[in-house]
């Protein structure tokens, strides 16, 4: 199920990449190239210029950066699934064990939980404000992944695994990989070009209204930057966890 799901996603991405590549013609690559520096603020609306470039003008690169991560996680999972899962003898008792197979005591639990919550709050903050200041989806995803890593070093690893699967994070990962090309297609068919940024609320006639909170520097600004940062953040978080989790489960070693 997981394998077919991953392959479907990959085939879809390849077809999409080919389509976009054929759609690019010379005029789009040279003559119509936007003047980023002067147009960035007025055209894109993000305060973070770096974020604006990689989520708008160079989103084709970003899409495949995410795909590389997806393929890496897919490969690790596929290879490690052939190796039988290591069931530690210690897990048969009713004691909680972390991913090192060490018994967990309350000090580890308290410190680990504290670091976990702080890291998650920070990750959510830099993902949500990625278009307003430094941060963004990639960094936020890594911070969140590190938080879970700390948690699994200090709490019951099996409980974390159950929680992760219950939340449906592995499914999220694939859904997001499908959503990003679909987002690109919306740009192609509805707005000016494939993978282009679009300001949906402004298209509906709600332009730069303080009432709706979509002015420059507000949380909902920069068009789709907020959505893309969230998608990439969840993707990186899920991917980093999937790699670590399968290493722990099937090799007993990270």
């Amino acid at each position: 199920m997981s394998k077919t799901g991953n392959i479907v996603v990959l085939v879809f991405l390849l077809v999409f990449a080919a389509g976009i590549y054929l759609n690019l013609n010379e005029s789009k690559l040279t003559a119509d190239r936007p003047d980023y520096i002067t147009n960035l603020i007025t055209e894109n609306g993000s305060l973070n210029a770096v974020g604006a470039v990689y989520l708008d003008y160079r989103f084709y690169d970003t899409l495949f950066e995410v795909t590389v991560f997806f393929v890496a996680a897919f490969g690790v999972v596929m290879i490690l699934k052939r190796i039988p899962a290591t069931v530690s003898e210690e897990h048969k008792n009713n004691i909680d064990y972390n991913l090192n197979g060490e018994a967990v005591d309350f000090r580890m639990k308290t410190a680990g939980t504290l670091i976990f919550f702080l890291s998650q709050v920070f990750a959510i903050y830099i993902i949500l404000t990625g278009h307003l200041g430094p941060g963004g989806g990639f960094v936020g995803g890594v911070v969140a992944g590190t938080g879970v890593l700390v948690l699994s070093g200090t709490r019951d690893i099996e409980g974390i695994e159950r929680g992760f699967l219950d939340l449906g994070i592995p499914v999220f990962e694939k859904v997001i990989m499908l959503t990003l090309p679909l987002y690109g297609l919306i740009g192609l068919f509805v707005f000016d070009a494939a993978l282009s940024n679009f300001h949906l609320l402004e298209h509906m006639g709600i332009e730069d209204s303080r009432l709706w909170g979509i002015g420059r520097g507000e949380l909902i600004s920069g068009g789709t930057a907020l959505f893309l940062n969230m998608a990439i953040g969840i993707k990186v978080f899920a991917g980093s966890w999937a790699i670590l989790y399968h290493f722990v489960k099937h090799r007993g070693v990270v």
């Binding site: 974020g51 090192n100 990639f138 960094v139 890594v142 590190t146 890593l149 070093g153």
Partner: protein, 232 residues
Amino acid sequence: MLSIVFWGLALSVSISLLWARNLIVSILLFGLFGTMTSGAYLLMGAPDVSFASLALGAGFTTFVFIISVRKTGKIKVGYVNTPYLIDRKEEVGYTGFEYELISGFAKEQNLDLDFEVITLEADSELKRFDLLMGGLYEDGEHTALFESWNKVQVLETRLLKNEKGEIIDLMRYKHKLMKDGYHDLEYDNLGKSYYFFLIEKTRTELADSLKAFIDEAVEDGRFEEWIRRNLG
């Protein structure tokens, strides 16, 4: 301008990494390097890159490395109970020269040791150990074992041969002498030999660092002290 200070610090951290023999220390230095470059990027006006450097270089990789070192940092030691070298007594626990050497090594390298008694005859059983010790010497009987493991020379000894053709080493000979007080058999001196630690073939880095540790201990006098305390 201030970023040059950070680059200088990052450079000095990376140079000091070359001399870090302890794995945990080198991981922490690596994390420090990530932090320094992060500060440098921040002062160069690239906060996005700075964040990525901090989250990946200082956070994520440090944790992954520490977990894997903790995981592989457990060494399973199989030992042959040998008086004066490694000997387990009910009240005192482990004593002996080889035990002091290996626990000094483990302390310096942040390794956990897990001891278990072995016999050299159970060949297939030995595969799950990382290190074999306890007065192991080349007597011609276990050549296959000595060939398929990494050897680390620990201590000079002598081999003795009795009338029945049994080969015995100096420590066991001494123990026999102390226990019985006399010798029922005549022993011939076969000449110089060495005690070895046997380390699993794939773990060459463990063998190398153990060799380096022994050389260091010989140089700073700890080796002599262990010998004086345990062997007299």
